[in-house]
């Protein structure tokens, strides 16, 4: 592995365990803190939506269409793996269709 990959794994492990440890030590106080509450409640969802937006920026129409398919599957199934599989199938199909 590259040193960047090692660094990613080690830092992510420390960060993930740090959150759990903070939960054990002062979880109730932190969760109820009025200043932190908006971040804890809203940040994770917004981040994921931001990730979707960033990965769609500048992509061709076929990617956006596949994203709509994936969104529909996600709403119906609420299942990550099913959404990934059908989403991938949609974009591969879309790419094949746009070639012809």
């Amino acid at each position: 592995m590259t040193s960047a990959q090692w660094l990613l794994i080690v830092l992510l492990a420390i960060a993930a365990y740090g959150v759990r440890l903070a939960g054990l030590v002062g979880g109730r106080a932190i969760s109820a803190n009025p200043r932190l509450k908006p971040f804890l409640d809203d940040l994770p969802g917004c981040l994921v939506v931001g990730l979707v937006a960033a990965s769609l920026a500048g992509e061709p129409a076929v990617t956006w269409a596949a994203a709509l398919v994936a969104l529909g599957v996600a709403i119906l199934t609420n299942n990550v793996v099913v959404t990934m599989v059908i989403g991938l199938a949609a974009i591969i199909l879309g790419q094949q269709l746009s070639v012809y």
Binding site: M1, A15, A16, L40, L43, L47, V48, G50, A54, G87
Partner: protein, 227 residues
């Protein structure tokens, strides 16, 4: 403990599929199978790992990838805090292990069983947690072994598998109509910032902060309406 070990198996099967998919993607981005195994054992957080690996793969920016991954795991503050009663009589060493092996599935199962049967406690949590982390490490490693052996999927829209995963994660985080406005703002702001030439990692953070700010304003406005 044995009861917890076995009761969680059906839920662990769902996590295994997700883990397998993550392993395939991580291997395609260039992680060796043992690196994936190491990460899964040390981090043990599905959505954090998938986000961090995608950010790392597309931008190679370690700190941004770690922050994005860790921020997604903030829900564990509340999850672990809710276990204080379950873990009260457990020795500290075991407690430090228990919080690492706890995942969404076995936490939810432990809390649900405990509501009906007060005898369900730390042993059940730890037994089911051991199943969860074992299944997670094994399934991600298996995915990485397969992903490393098959040809490069990049041309077939591999990157889109991550996009689809993020869309599904957002669906799972849906908490009712109050998220529509902050999510729309986040989406529009992030898209505009990336289009304007900002690096995606920064655009995602700024876009999300804009969404959080709107959500906070919206909440205080509603509170005033009630008052």
């Amino acid at each position: 403990m044995k009861q917890g070990f076995l009761s969680i198996l059906p839920l662990a099967a769902g996590a295994a599929l997700y883990g397998f998919a993550f392993g395939v993607l991580a291997a395609q981005i260039g992680f060796p199978w043992w690196g994936v195994a190491l990460m899964s054992g040390l981090v043990h957080a599905g959505s954090s790992q998938i986000v961090a690996v995608e950010q790392f793969g597309s931008h190679g920016f370690v700190l941004g990838a770690v922050l994005a991954g860790a921020a997604l795991n903030l829900r564990y503050l509340g999850i672990i805090a809710s276990l204080s009663e379950v873990l009260r009589d457990v020795p500290m060493r075991l407690r430090l292990l228990a919080i690492h092996i706890t995942g969404d599935e076995n936490w939810a199962l432990t809390m649900a069983r405990r509501a009906r049967d007060p005898d369900i406690g730390a042993a059940f949590l730890i037994g089911s947690g051991l199943t969860m982390i074992s299944v997670w490490v094994i399934s991600t490693t298996a995915g990485a072994l397969i992903g490393g052996a098959i040809p490069d999927l990049e041309g077939y829209g591999l990157g889109f598998a991550f996009t689809a995963a993020f869309i599904a994660m957002a669906r799972a985080m849906w908490r009712g109509r109050q998220v529509i406005l902050p999510w729309a703002i986040t989406f529009a702001a992030t898209l505009a910032l990336v289009r304007a030439g900002m690096g995606p990692a920064f655009a995602i953070v700024l876009g999300s902060l804009a969404g959080v700010a709107i959500a906070t304003l919206d909440r205080s406005r509603r509170r005033q309406d009630i008052a």
